[in-house]
Symmetry: C3
Subunit: 417 residues, 3 copies
Amino acid sequence: MKMNQKLSTLAAATMLATMSLPAEAGDKELLEVLLENGVISKQQHQELKKQYGKNSGTQISTKGGIKAKSEDGDFSFQFGGRVMVDAGYVDEDVSKHDSGTEFRRLRMFAKGTLYRDWGYKVQVDYSDDALAIKDAYLKYKPWGVTIGNFKQPISLEELTSSKYITFMERSLPTVFATSHRIGVGINKGGNNWSAAASIYGGNSEDNEDGQEGYGLGARVTFAPIAEKTRAIHLGAAVAHEEPLDDADVVRFRQRPEFHATGTRIIDTGSISNVEDIEKFGLEAAAVFGPFSLQGEYLKVDVSRESGFDDADFDGAYLTASYFLTGESRPYSAKKGKFGRVKPKAKSGAWELAVRYSTLDLDDGAIQGGEEDNLTLGLNWYVNPNVRIMANYIDVDAEVAGVDDDPNIFAMRAQIDF
Amino acid sequence: MKMNQKLSTLAAATMLATMSLPAEAGDKELLEVLLENGVISKQQHQELKKQYGKNSGTQISTKGGIKAKSEDGDFSFQFGGRVMVDAGYVDEDVSKHDSGTEFRRLRMFAKGTLYRDWGYKVQVDYSDDALAIKDAYLKYKPWGVTIGNFKQPISLEELTSSKYITFMERSLPTVFATSHRIGVGINKGGNNWSAAASIYGGNSEDNEDGQEGYGLGARVTFAPIAEKTRAIHLGAAVAHEEPLDDADVVRFRQRPEFHATGTRIIDTGSISNVEDIEKFGLEAAAVFGPFSLQGEYLKVDVSRESGFDDADFDGAYLTASYFLTGESRPYSAKKGKFGRVKPKAKSGAWELAVRYSTLDLDDGAIQGGEEDNLTLGLNWYVNPNVRIMANYIDVDAEVAGVDDDPNIFAMRAQIDF
Amino acid sequence: MKMNQKLSTLAAATMLATMSLPAEAGDKELLEVLLENGVISKQQHQELKKQYGKNSGTQISTKGGIKAKSEDGDFSFQFGGRVMVDAGYVDEDVSKHDSGTEFRRLRMFAKGTLYRDWGYKVQVDYSDDALAIKDAYLKYKPWGVTIGNFKQPISLEELTSSKYITFMERSLPTVFATSHRIGVGINKGGNNWSAAASIYGGNSEDNEDGQEGYGLGARVTFAPIAEKTRAIHLGAAVAHEEPLDDADVVRFRQRPEFHATGTRIIDTGSISNVEDIEKFGLEAAAVFGPFSLQGEYLKVDVSRESGFDDADFDGAYLTASYFLTGESRPYSAKKGKFGRVKPKAKSGAWELAVRYSTLDLDDGAIQGGEEDNLTLGLNWYVNPNVRIMANYIDVDAEVAGVDDDPNIFAMRAQIDF
């Protein structure tokens, strides 16, 4: 029962060359081969092809969550989430703080694509037994246009996912970052640049109060080097925000880079009679193999009416990180932000990091205080989806001439799917 | 190595004719053919069949969300949701209104079937960072019986999903529709009729207050014509609702067909000493190709005790809609409501619509006000799941002799999956 | 075109014996057979194998929800939930109660496995339109270590899922069970034993208040008999809990085994100056075919400071259950708790149950009251996932010398997926 091997080989080659559809991974090809080899008749071939055609051709995968994709790629769906459990202790100085445990983030999301061009995402946070809408939008992909709730384009650290930031909390000056707001934005990016612009209202919560400001923001980033293990990132952002007449109030206050405490040591209090706010951000980062640097300067100018003095506040941070196990922080020039660390070894990746951050909320009559934090961090990336973090924070604050210098030790267990 | 084509053709035909199981789309049929053609032995056939048998045979598909269905159809699961982002501006007259952005609806749901006869659905809304239970029930399909939280059977517009309604908001008189309540209901329908009856308590929120009324409702619809592009719908509904002793209060108030404002121009205030409420609804709709008409009349009779006068309120609306691109509003006679518009062209469907709605909350001592709205709507159905809406609403209200006539412009971006 | 059957049979046998990979259920085996039988060439075999290799090999199934599992079993995902709808009537005596309907539980969850060793679960409850975090954790499976929010190890009835408990509500003394807390726990179990230990902070809600106690707990169970339809369970648990300085308050109060009422007849009120709490639990259960017994004794010792008297409270219950349709309550010795009942017949399983429970919240100056309940239960397990329950509760309470003896009738419809 030997068959003509040469003929069939040629036939198979031809068949494989002429197959144009992203086939249902194997079945259709097998039918072609069996037909070519004369093992099944044309009619059988037809009938069987019809049978196989009934398969939806939807590709499913799980890496903890679930992903589905239609055969033609026009439709897709993903369900996932994240769990971050924290425990920490504050060695108090002047101000009172809460030590203890908390879910820092507990989220589920659904995202997907419809008719190739339209994307969506719905992500909600459940931590503290309270609901918070995070990313929630629809997107017209060909134009890079997003409508809904998304992070407004200012601050590298704010825009980098909480799953990937180097320390448990973002640095002090990110209090000036706008974060999630309902608006319309456009995002574009190339091999060594990204640009984003946006117009937005209040956040999803504001709407209930019937008080809603609006804002305009833009950010550009440029990467002179954007290789896999070497990158240089430069970025700048600017935003103009205006409170509505019946809510011309703004307030900046910040936790000491530890979230389980409700206490914000430095706090401007409510600043009234605000006409508008200008925000400025400068970003720089560099990755050289296992070593990386990242720094930002953020500034807000608050213009006030009715004879009140304008107020300016600013802050900055500088982070240095080193992977003992040789990984590099993965930078995406197209998105202008950092992504997921994938350990090289089965035993995971280990990262040592140090950060200095400063925030000045004193200006003129507004004495919100000044704070300088020095943080040491140790991260164990058990695998790409599980991370154990330990942070030690040396807080050095001064409010109205009074020093307040607590020390904080905190740990996090994190999984995302 | 030519085989006996006639024989194998016959064999294949026989095989295909005798296959009774909804096969695993191809694999089993191929094995039969290979056995018939003598390419594999009976033992190989047996072994391979066993191998293929290990496949779950679950069919998966994605059209943005995800659907799974067991081979025998006894079990199924679907996950999906909807995002509606609004922005609007109110040109105020007398009353103050909020302009701005909001998530009008932000929902995820899971629904499915268990053991063929039992269905369930869990749908929650996250908009305004507050949780609201929407459809949440279990269902015994053979009897059409639903237990849980579902829309009570009154008002065509209320029962038609917010994904499919013609304007951004339902019309003024739907304030009288009962909407979601926890109860037990029965639904039946045929080619040109539907009927629903229900007994219900309070809604999912009421329970916490320990104050819960109850109600009885029924609705019947009849469709003398129920074709794909031509339909006539007639319907009537009635409900009896009774507040409990410790909450014999009822209140009707309505936003001006724009939701981001918190202001209800017309408002009966709390009506005390309510004995019971009777609700009546009449519905009519017609579809003639791209043109459709829809109208309803809704009335409530509030019976009061302790010498207080009874109060009657009513309202009505009439909507005319025309698809510039030739689609028809899809009517389901079996469900007695409208469904999803599917654009004919790649460029989507365009619909022009106009609605007049009126609501009278004045009766005797209760001077809640009267409102007449004229709304112009333009809808672009980008594809079956994405819709962009624009509404202009000319409000003409009178409360206690004072005219209040704001104008409103609003837009919505909507996606469902 | 007959082939050499003996040869091919031998070949197939060899092939099947040497196949080591958990193959993609059939396709690969078919290719081997076709190659062995000389129907396809080696090159064709190679090409086709490559094509089939593109399949993700993810196994999907639905039994109402959805499950996905990677071919190697290292990754998995499951989405599901539960709906419990209650209606009940309280025939009041002294205290006022709410009758009516409610969602007793309305939940969705996602759980899964990442990189074989790491598991997670996120489960939230939506009932009462309020969010509550239930199971939410990550887990290192090789050590049985869980980090996050999970049920602390005390009380057989508390640890048995609400989907599987015999009556609509757990018994009065489970007010002493700790239930969900954020912590770190370890679980181990064998053929006839289980052991769990845990250290925990407050629950997910407490954190917001900045008041958080901590606790240590352990539980061991032993099953002299642990067969499918015969089991004996013995268990003991102990816990030490300490309130923080700024919240040295504890309170025990309990609904009358009916949840829709907000009224707790017996209630210690806030007990101040608490130094620490010791909890003790003893458990016993027996399954003999369709008959089962289950009982617990729970006790708390409240140690108080500043000259206040210590207070001791305790309670117990005994449940007897009989399956008219012959099923047995499924006991897992490894987990030390009961699981899902699977009806034997198409018409479902019927269970009759009776419970006596008692709770004494009187001690010294604290006169919280004493309550003895007798409950009759009838359960219809329509299928493994749908259950209809009816409970009649005869309450016999005494608070500060006043008898309060309401009777309650309640029903539940329950589905889980």
